[in-house]
Amino acid sequence: MNQPISLTLAQKAGPKLTLGIGAVVLAILIILPLLHLLPADNSLQVSAYTLTLVGKILCYAIVALALDLVWGYAGLLSLGHGLFFALGGYAMGMYLMRESAGDGLPAFMVFLSWTELPWYWTGTQHFLWALCLVVLAPGLLALVFGFFAFRSRIKGVYFSIMTQALTFAGMLLFFRNETGFGGNNGFTNFRTILGFDITAQGTRTALFLAIVALLTCSLLLGWRLAKSKFGRVLTALRDAENRLMFCGYDPRGYKLFIWVLSAVLCGLAGALYVPLVGIINPSEMSPTNSIEAAVWVALGGRGSLIGPILGAGIVNGMKSWFTVAFPEYWLFALGALFIVVTLYLPKGVIGLLRKKGEQ
């Protein structure tokens, strides 16, 4: 783990080029949803399917970025980020379920012949409270788990295993009907968000733009963090935790801060993902999903900010192509990707690009 970390392409390939590419990509991402608003017979119209797919991948890119902050910078590989993502999604889903149920109970509760809402559903009909939950649920869970984990100096693979067990436990919990989150089926059949039809072109466009905004903000935040002394302390922590402690830094606070921040980012991504895709269920918490996020980051390049976003795009692009063209072989391809990346691409795609840039 001693490859020099560089913040983005910006430092090596010249800020102008990177900023230029970034601006073009951002412009495309802003124009794309606007094209969706065109009438369906227009040849430039972007279909709802494409928009949803790209939006989904952008949500995953935020997750990848969040995971990179803890893994690439602080050296903590979390295999449980799917849990935070899903918690944010569920918090938003609660609001959406309440909206579509009106004054009554959400459909799955009626089905279970419940007569009143569980206490933790209180206030979820208010969008603002749902937003608070989106931040609080993953944030508090990460805070509590992180506090205990970092206090007993769990790191490396032990940390990974514990986080994987955590998301596994969460999945089991949410599979139960009694937990009050729709069990197996989770939440679906949303109708409106803030009174707007959730499948309307306008709503979809707005959601997409919100996702683009969140990704941009996360990127800027990550960039600021990486440039600050805080970022340097994290890198130091990753490479020589003991040295850092003898320098008088308490690693726990640093780890906890970045860990909770990363969890909250995931929660926000999940909260935007759910209304766009229209469903959230416990399988989002399965360990498989979380570990797949790790391969996005590894493929893109750890310890850079653009890398994970690229990685999420490449893997999910491949996935949507494979699952249509060769559904049988997707898992082979994904498995091979895991192996190839760890064996031959330790610095990821971004490392390759950088090498090319230097030549």
């Binding site: 490859q3 970390i5 002394k229 340097r232 130091a236 008088g248 640093y254």
Partner: protein, 286 residues
């Protein structure tokens, strides 16, 4: 069992630079450790008494007692396995002694403080194997070591003042790494890393420096330079140097302690110690 005192939660910036009358920088807000600076009324900066440490039945330290005076430069010698590194582990809180007393100054009980608290109260340590932050540049390494508020919030907003920049430059020139200031530390040679680590200690400005084999891998000229550096540090700081290089020890030490099988075998000037029959027997050889 590790009886770590539970520190206050560390996110809030409990540290107020103005209230810091002495040397103990306590960003954890532990009132006990903060006090009014280090109490060295009796001229002793480090007190170890009857320390015992055992690992799974193996006794690494047996009834070790050792005192370091303020401003003293003490050399510790002894054969491999004598317990030198374990002793440093005890002082820095990495290993908890089974029993015995370890005090920094008159009041700070090292056995009840965490590693971070100990580092913040003014004990700096250089590891046997040079340990620097390899992914960061030389300048950034020194910046991180700089004596300042080290809480999370402070780091998020930290900006180097001109004064701090000057201080880093000063240390850079002391350790002769000015030309490598932007090089990645991982690319430095072994000797340069040693110097960088010493430089980081200087940035920390601790009252007591623990140096584990600081000149291993250095050229003669570098060794000589290091000796001068340490001598200039003594008096203002207290130093404890573990070293096998007897030439180096001879050039810096006014006082030498010989460890053997986890306890002090002999103590005195280098000449006295070198004349001691038992020391010759176990360490120096005939």
């Amino acid at each position: 069992m590790r009886a770590t005192p539970v520190p206050e939660f560390m996110l809030e910036p409990a540290y107020d630079p103005n209230s810091d009358a002495g040397t103990s920088r306590d960003s954890l807000g532990l009132g006990r450790a903060a006090g009014a600076g280090l109490d060295v009324r009796h001229g002793t900066i480090l007190t170890l008494e009857d320390i015992n440490v055992s690992f799974d039945g193996f006794k690494a330290l047996t009834n070790l007692s050792l005192y370091i005076g303020v401003g003293e430069l003490r050399c510790i010698i002894g054969p491999n396995g004598a317990g030198k590194t374990t002793m440093m582990d005890v002082i820095t809180g990495k290993t908890r002694p089974d029993n015995g007393k370890a005090y920094f100054g008159e009041t700070l009980d090292l056995t009840r403080m965490s590693e971070v608290q100990i580092a913040q109260s003014g004990i700096g340590r250089k590891f046997q194997k040079p340990t620097v932050f390899e992914a960061l540049s030389v300048f950034e390494n020194l910046e991180l070591a700089l004596k300042t508020d080290k809480s999370v919030w402070a780091s998020l907003r930290a900006k180097l003042s001109g004064e701090q920049r000057d201080r880093i430059d000063e240390v850079l020139s002391t350790i002769k790494l000015e030309s490598s200031r932007h090089r990645t530390a991982g690319l430095l040679s072994h000797g340069q890393k040693q110097f960088l680590e010493i430089g980081m200690l200087l940035m920390q400005d601790p009252q007591l420096l623990l140096l584990d084999e600081p000149v291993a891998g250095m050229t003669d000229a570098e060794t000589e330079f290091t000796a001068e550096l340490f001598k200039s540090l003594a008096r203002k700081h207290s130093l404890m140097v573990v070293e096998h290089d007897m030439g180096f020890v001879g050039s810096i030490a006014d006082h030498v302690t010989v460890l053997h099988q986890g306890s002090v075998l002999a103590e005195g000037s280098l000449a006295d110690v070198q004349a001691d029959e038992r020391v010759i027997e176990v360490y120096l050889g005939r």
